[in-house]
Amino acid sequence: MIATQPIKVTVNGRPRMLDVAVHHSLLDVLRDDLALTGTKECCLVGECGACTVIVDGRPVDSCLILAVEADGAEISTVEGLAAEGRLSPLQQAFLDTGAVQCGFCIPGQLMSATALLAENPHPTVPEIQEGLAGNLCRCGGYLQISEAVLAAAEAGTR
């Protein structure tokens, strides 16, 4: 018998009451229980960043925290970035600069970059590279991703 525990979380602005397996990660619950498959699964050891979501304002590898630990938290995933069907400036910038290649790492990159810009609205390139160092891109789109974050930062001030 798998032990479960009730949790209450807000995901992309929507309150959710869930009964989750105590050993399931936040990533498991997002993908399997809530069908929010935009958050990606790759390394499961907190090294690739594909599963990055924002928990109470901080970027978190959702594979590394248990869903029960997120009880009471406010969680943002890639599905919540576009408001009313309009891409966020960051999403738009990723498209405009050609930062997206295969796309598999992109949700994680976007969430890390969203958290970075929330904390530091005008990052330098080295700050962006450091801020996104935990998000691997095997297509090697790092320069275009940096350019996208810079462009979004500029758009944010216009």
């Binding site: 498959t37 790759c42 295969c102 598999f104 691997l136 297509c139």
Partner: protein, 749 residues
């Protein structure tokens, strides 16, 4: 937005990728799906004595435990070159991580628990996981000789020994005034696509439907049809865009297992590999390359003598082809009067190696380009100058009987050199390196396509290419936009469903822009011809007086957009215009590779480096990669491919390598202990550029270009390290530890 050729419209499919709605295989949910988990052994090689599934079957929710005994007998084997890989290990597990059984359960938790409860009794056997051990006459044989009937090498671990060459090396060797000779090694590295391989299969009427993150859906369809005894029409392969492939997702891997499990369970079954499991599924050949090159005192090449040993895994996959193709072109883009090339594909008890961006070429290029630097130093000639003296000019032969040099490669080289200020003074402690890379494009090919021009002028393109990030969807849409005039957001590109999309041989060898691109161009031309006939009928003008191009119908007295001809032309019943395209590159009997190169990818990489003498850390101050692409149909995609390939190449150059323990187990499985480049590992300044002379065989003069910028990363970086420090390192990767060690040895000499 203009979407035509030479512009960079936003990636087709980009919107879904930034909103999280792009569905990769693992994101697709089927009702009643079972979750599969592989059972593997923690050793390289073992005799399987018995498998007890009873405890696993008692786990609630477990529906199936599959072992080799549950498969059709004899256990089906498959592979693109040799049908040597069994669906599950038969009798003997031959590499660390080879599946010996698999569990399917209602939940992932149950599958994982049960996989741990499958009790495999096994006897560990001696294994070989290095070139030297595999070549030892006393080495255990990796493959049963019975699998290799009529093969004189069947009682060795050499799967194939390839011999290429021209001229008489021994006869001309005496005329060489300088001979340089050394051995280089290239590490075992893995693709590390951020999307781990994912597979799903479901019974589908009297056939089967299979989902796979695969580059060659039609290959998979053929493989499954044979194994399952089904007609092709009953095997439907869905190939959602892969989340990175790089060659690792070309050929079938675990799809036959998942398909047989789904048929046995009567329910859909999905298997998503962990990243660790992908290390045990795909990798590049590690290689030892011995190069002997002869020069005249003025730097003219006299001969090359190259012997390579490539370490394959336990099953061949497409790896032997990478050996043949990579070694065949090993002499590089130069005029070489005489060459002798020997290359061996050596089996071992390791992860099956396969195609990986560059396809067997980066290994000899690492060695041969590095030997050019050693010759340059010995001759006292600038390394760029030595290369240019020998570089084939357009139309000159590089491999007798094959496609001659098809670009202005000197222009490419000079552009890269210029970007790093080649020949200008450097600050103390800095060094520069330069290298050339060349790779043959596809030797055969077959791509069909269909283009439908709908009544409102919008377009649907059907192409069996896999868009794994290279941007094929966008480029194909651009071709249709260019020819038929539709805006890009009125063009839909349908891929990845063998029941809907016509046959395409494969997505590999940087072929798709050229081969599928030409096929789509042909389909558009057929549509244009039908529009011309329609315009002739509607306007009562002779067809010969009508031109249809770039989305416009030119009549003798005026010009109309295609859509204005469509409405009256199609009439009251509506309808559409359909064009079909076909692009063939036939095999050439007698050719050593079965066919000549459709084009060459030529790249020049030039690097300025600083080396931290205290830590051995290499800082790439400036890095330039320039590729001859014929014509950049989408400059943003071209840049992404070139810079992405360069960064990927920095992985095997600076940090990536498998580490084995003495039992042949991979000790650095996964992302913690196996590092790939991050945003912190980039050159301080990374510059990419192209040469575009519209001299390629693809649409509008394009060439394939997705691998070029990876080919010569390592020799360029190593040359810069040598220039900066004086130390020569012939083993990759150039880790800080290795560089530091070399610096220490230099200072103690």
């Amino acid at each position: 937005m203009s979407a035509r050729i030479g512009t960079s419209p936003a990636r087709v499919g980009g919107q879904d990728r930034v909103t999280g709605s792009q569905q990769y295989v693992a994101d697709i949910h089927l009702a009643d799906v079972l979750h599969a988990k592989l059972v593997t052994l923690d050793c390289a090689r073992a005799r399987i004595v018995s498998i007890d599934t009873s405890a696993a079957l008692r786990v609630p929710g477990v529906r199936l435990v599959m072992t080799a005994a549950d498969l059709p007998q004899p256990v089906p084997r498959f592979g693109p070159q040799f049908e040597d890989r069994p669906v599950l290990a038969v009798g003997e597990a031959k590499y660390h991580g080879e599946p010996v059984a698999a569990v399917a359960a209602d939940t992932k938790d149950a599958a994982e628990e049960a996989a741990g409860l499958v009790k495999v009794e096994y006897e560990e056997l001696p294994a070989v996981f290095t070139i030297a051990a595999a070549l030892d006459p006393a080495a255990p044989l990796v493959q049963d000789p019975a699998l290799r009937p009529d093969d004189p090498l069947a009682r060795t671990n050499v799967l194939r020994e390839h011999h290429f060459g021209w001229g008489d090396v021994d006869a001309v060797a005496a005329s060489a005034e300088l001979v340089v000779e050394n051995t280089w090694t290239f590490p075992m590295v893995t693709h590390f696509a951020i999307e781990p391989h994912a597979f799903m299969a479901a019974p589908d009427g009297d056939g089967i439907a299979v989902w796979s993150s695969i580059q060659h859906p039609n290959w998979l369809q053929k493989t499954l049809a044979r194994i399952l005894g089904l007609p092709l029409s009953r095997v439907r392969v869905f190939a959602p865009d892969p989340g990175g492939g790089f060659g690792g997702k070309q050929h079938p891997k675990l799809e036959p297992l998942v398909a047989l499990m789904a048929l046995r369970a009567g329910r859909p079954v999905r298997l998503v590999l962990t990243l660790e499991e992908t290390f045990q599924a795909v990798r590049r050949n590690s290689t030892e390359i011995h190069v002997r090159s002869g020069f005249r005192a003025d730097g003219t090449l006299v001969f090359r003598d190259i012997e390579s040993n490539y370490l394959l895994g336990a099953y061949a996959d497409i790896a032997d082809r990478t050996v043949a193709k990579g070694s065949y072109a090993a002499c590089g883009p130069y005029r070489v009067p005489a060459a002798r090339i020997v290359a061996r594909s050596i089996l071992s008890h390791t992860t099956p190696s396969t195609a990986f961006r560059g396809f067997g070429n980066p290994q000899p290029i690492w060695a041969v380009e590095s030997s050019m630097d050693e010759a340059a130093r010995a001759l006292g000639i600038d390394p760029l100058e030595l290369r240019l003296r020998n570089l084939a000019r357009r139309g000159e032969e590089i491999i007798p009987g094959d496609t001659p040099a098809d670009g202005d490669w000197e222009q490419t080289a000079r552009k890269a050199a210029g970007l790093v200020g080649w020949g200008t003074p450097l600050p103390a402690g800095r060094g520069r390196g330069i290298a050339f890379g060349i790779k043959s494009g596809p030797t055969t090919g077959l791509s069909y396509s269909t283009v439908r021009l709908l009544a409102d002028g919008s377009v649907i393109v059907y192409a069996g290419t896999s868009d794994m990030g290279q941007g094929a969807r966008t480029v194909f849409a651009q071709i249709a936009a260019q020819e038929l005039g539709a805006p890009i957001d009125w063009i839909t590109v349908v891929m990845g469903d063998t029941a809907v999309v016509p046959y395409d041989q494969q997505t590999s060898a940087s072929r798709s822009t050229v081969l599928m691109g030409n096929s789509i161009l042909a389909a558009c031309r057929e549509v244009q011809a039908k529009v011309r006939a329609m315009a002739s009928r509607v306007h009562g003008v002779d067809e010969a007086q009508i031109v249809v191009e770039h989305g416009v119908v030119r009549l003798p007295d005026r010009e109309l957009p295609i859509v204005d001809v469509l409405a009256p032309g199609l009439g009251r019943l509506g309808g559409e215009i359909v064009g079909n395209g076909e692009m063939r590159k036939e095999a050439e009997p007698g050719h050593p590779l079965g066919g000549s190169a459709a084009f060459y990818e030529f790249n020049c990489t030039a690097v300025e480096a600083d080396v931290d003498q205290g830590t051995g850390d290499i800082v790439l101050v400036r890095y330039a990669t320039v590729s001859d692409v014929g014509r950049a149909l989408n400059p943003a995609h071209v840049r992404s491919q070139d810079e992405g390939a360069a960064i990927q190449g920095l992985g095997h150059t600076l940090m990536e390598h498998y580490i084995y323990d003495e039992q042949g187990r991979i000790r650095n499985l996964g992302a913690i202990d196996y590092r790939i480049p991050t945003s912190m590992d980039l050159p301080t300044e990374l510059l990419s550029d192209t040469v575009e002379n519209a001299d390629g065989p693809g649409p509008y003069g394009s060439k394939g270009m997705s691998e070029g910028a990876l080919l010569c990363v390592a020799p360029a970086v190593a040359a810069a390290v040598r220039d900066a420090t004086g130390v020569v390192i012939r083993d990759l990767p150039l880790t800080p530890e290795r560089v530091w060690q070399a610096l220490q040895e230099r200072s103690t000499r």
